[in-house]
Symmetry: D2
Subunit: 291 residues, 4 copies
């Protein structure tokens, strides 16, 4: 018998991910705080639940794709929250990006209801979400992760098993710390070259032609050349991810001197009003702080 899947959080990422679950043939119940975002899912055959609790009651597996800890807490607690509707034997897959510590706390919380927790944040942004081509970083009991692979593979092209619950989030931290560092790093290097009088396009071609050539820099190249930063992955989300990564480093005694410098740069970008631009807009901070 097919799994009944609940999906909470239909934002820029959650929407196409839920769509892909619906297209995968699962019986889907969705909830989103602002209900107009549920429309496209209803059109795709999903049931729109009036409350998180109702999602929990109607599902075997509940997927969360929310902005962060506060948003998760908001759908979890209270008389109409997820917790109120959960029951023994269910599985909760949190695909939102949170710190490993929060993942573990969430898991502990639902243990009282005998619900199994999996943390499965994703690597990739809107476009791979639409194409079901995300990389899914999963932590939790290996047996359940394996069983759920068909469901996860509706949304992704690859499931990386990372270890116990919380380890999916740990992997996300490591990956996005590097992502944020690389975008800040190329911004700093390009800005240095520009201050020396080098041509931006020539610089980027040179960097891409060598061993550092990668899809990330290919994506950012036109942004840096045209000084236009339409969001692939919004800077405010990267800032949040680096904040979580620093917290994770603090929790685990890992030193992150670059991470701290990188965080200051993204945080400063927020102050410059660049929150909704692509995270490569961190380049603007270098221009501002250099003579």
């Amino acid at each position: 018998m097919a799994l009944r899947v609940g999906f909470v959080g239909l934002g820029i990422m959650g929407q196409p991910m839920a769509q892909n679950v619906a297209e995968g043939g699962y019986e889907l119940t969705v909830f989103n705080r602002s209900s107009e975002k549920s429309k496209p899912l209803a059109d795709a055959g999903a049931t729109v639940a009036p409350t998180p609790k109702a999602v929990a009651e109607a599902s075997d597996v509940i997927i969360l794709m929310l902005a962060g800890p506060e948003a998760i807490d908001a759908v979890f607690e209270g008389p109409e929250g997820l917790m109120a509707g959960m029951r023994k034997g269910q599985i909760l897959i949190n695909m939102s990006t949170v710190s490993p510590q929060y993942s573990k706390q969430l898991a502990e919380k639902i243990t009282s209801k005998s619900v199994v927790a999996i943390d499965a944040p994703v690597s990739g942004s809107r476009k791979p979400a639409e194409e079901g081509a995300l990389v899914i970083l999963a932590g939790g009991p290996k047996e359940q992760v394996t069983e759920l692979e068909p469901l996860l593979m509706c949304m992704g092209k690859k499931v990386v098993y990372c270890g116990n619950v919380g380890q999916g989030s740990s992997m996300k931290m490591a990956v996005n710390l590097l992502l944020g560092t690389m975008a800040a790093g190329i911004s700093e290097a390009v800005n240095l070259g520009q201050k020396c009088g080098l041509d931006t396009a020539t610089m980027l071609e040179t960097m891409l032609a060598g061993p550092m050539g990668c899809a990330l820099f290919e994506f950012k190249k036109p942004m840096l050349i045209d000084d236009q930063f339409s969001a692939q992955f919004p800077l405010k989300h990267m800032t949040k991810d680096i904040r979580f990564a620093l917290q994770t480093a603090d929790d685990n005694g890992a030193m992150v001197p670059l991470g701290h410098a990188v965080f200051q740069l993204y945080r400063q970008s927020i102050g410059l009003g660049l929150s909704d631009m692509d995270f490569a807009a961190v380049k603007k901070v270098f221009e501002r702080i250099s003579d």
Copy 2:
């Protein structure tokens, strides 16, 4: 009539580069401080000069590939130095990595002798040097750089014209600052994951599978997994390059907050005795400074 080429500096990079010039059919005169390194070139048909001055006297174009400013000064000055043998109409191509400021000072110095200066540092290490597959970052009068392209293409797969003399060095600074930042960045991210209990190989596969996947990280992957750092590009040279990049940033008013953090990490690696290992050995510093 074929150009007569002088080559000074037959170290780990200079040797194969000079070999490729010899194989290109140029009449080659070489000099190296410790003369046993000249042997293979002599076998390849090059004349071994007794002094830098003799190289200058025997050549139309003089190529330098030395460890840095001090080594260049050492072959330049004095009664048996290059300057003493230079004459009007010659071209000096400095392929050593130095700061743009030093490049410009060197150019000014030889202007008195009516010698044209080109700075042409390379991107790539021993292996591409052997294969004639370096990327050559050239600054100087465009006409002369163009004329010399056949010579340069013996050593490289691509010549990037960067602008006036000094701009080749500027490009090298921007490129290697990014290189150093990326190697430190992946070390920091992998160390964070390790402290969280993640498997190193799984982490690197995940990072390489996404948009950050690049040849650089492919090269460093086995080093990081096996904790073995045989030098492709020695850490001491990367440290020197970042030092020059910080100086260049200071000279040009470019802010490099990551560069400063990165420099401290490489400089600390030197203190740990990692000078002659690959620059990815900067990873060891993260292990040491983390709990």
Copy 3:
């Protein structure tokens, strides 16, 4: 009629502070999680309450002096917690060091009970606490802070009115960020001098003889000379304070590049097992990271 005062938290700071309140002639009720710490207060005439709730019920003004947010939450919530015993018209003075944000959240929470919140962290450690010579940094309604000055002046030599609730904590953040930076700063400078071969005592005398001479450096001078760091103010608490200061900076959009570097140094000290030493032991990290 005399105010009835409740005091929760009888640790290294709370104990002498509560003693000074008792000696000030106030009717005192105390609570501490490990009850043996209440003994000296009982000897001084205080009533020892069995629960936080009982403290609240017996008092007009409740003072908290606890290790941090978690400890405060632990005495606040639950059927035997402070909240359960609070009533309209009471005043809560939180003298624990927390972030301004937490101070404001705590204030909001007790507004539902019509209890007035004052945050009043202290500047100074064990010795000034014993001597009633703390500097008290108070935020909250001006009228109430003024009314309570006689009570506060039992514990301190000065009450600085900082503004609305939360501003006492903000002041503490600014003060301790500077304190942490100065201790790390003198450690870095002394370590630099030592690496250059200078005599430690000569260095400290020189620094103290000039415009930087201050009581802080006088206190740390024998520690740095003798390489002995018995705690005046434990390093783990300074680490916590800097962590809160970074959070506060993040919440308010203030850039703290030094604070981030300083935090890494203290956090690393924890990893080296220096938690319970004086915060000047951060010097050991410089020795470790330098050649």
Copy 4:
């Protein structure tokens, strides 16, 4: 018989220092590149020499007080330079701030002339220079330093013997690194408080009332309150000193993570046009980089 003293460099510091030497009864010969600055010294009875060489010829002891290495090199070399006039048995006291490495190179250079080198940079700015109240940090042969104490004490209130030649400069590096860190540190802390809504004067009074209270912060207090930064010690000189301190740290394998962050802040101040203001104007950078 009285020593004949030569003094080269009559800038903001050198002028009053030379005046104090003249008033000390020494036979004084002076040189300054822009000769109008020699006037007041001529009025005080000094001989104005036409060239550095002439200063050397007329003196037993030569004092330098110049802006940095370039300025020293400029008066040293060439047919009319100091070197050309030096002879066996003289003593050179370099009171300019330079790196220890430069001090040692200078000493080596004049060894060929059998001239003894002492490096004796000063702690203190214009006002203590006028009052003969500088702290003089001396490196060199102990015997000669002791013999010259009467001369040095015309200019200073204290001579600190630091060790061999170069160690005076090392001490200056350590002292000014701390000075620069403290001014940046209080700027960061005050800016944090301001972003939290605290009153600037209240903050500074609180900081000064505690163990961090020192003359430095007393001097900077009105600057920070009034947002007016007339130079006591110009920011460009502090920037130069921190640059030398980082170089010294690099030369000696001392890690200076705060120093790097501090340098970026001062360097950025230069970019904002604050070069000639007091170094406490680094505060403006925090305002600029914070939201």
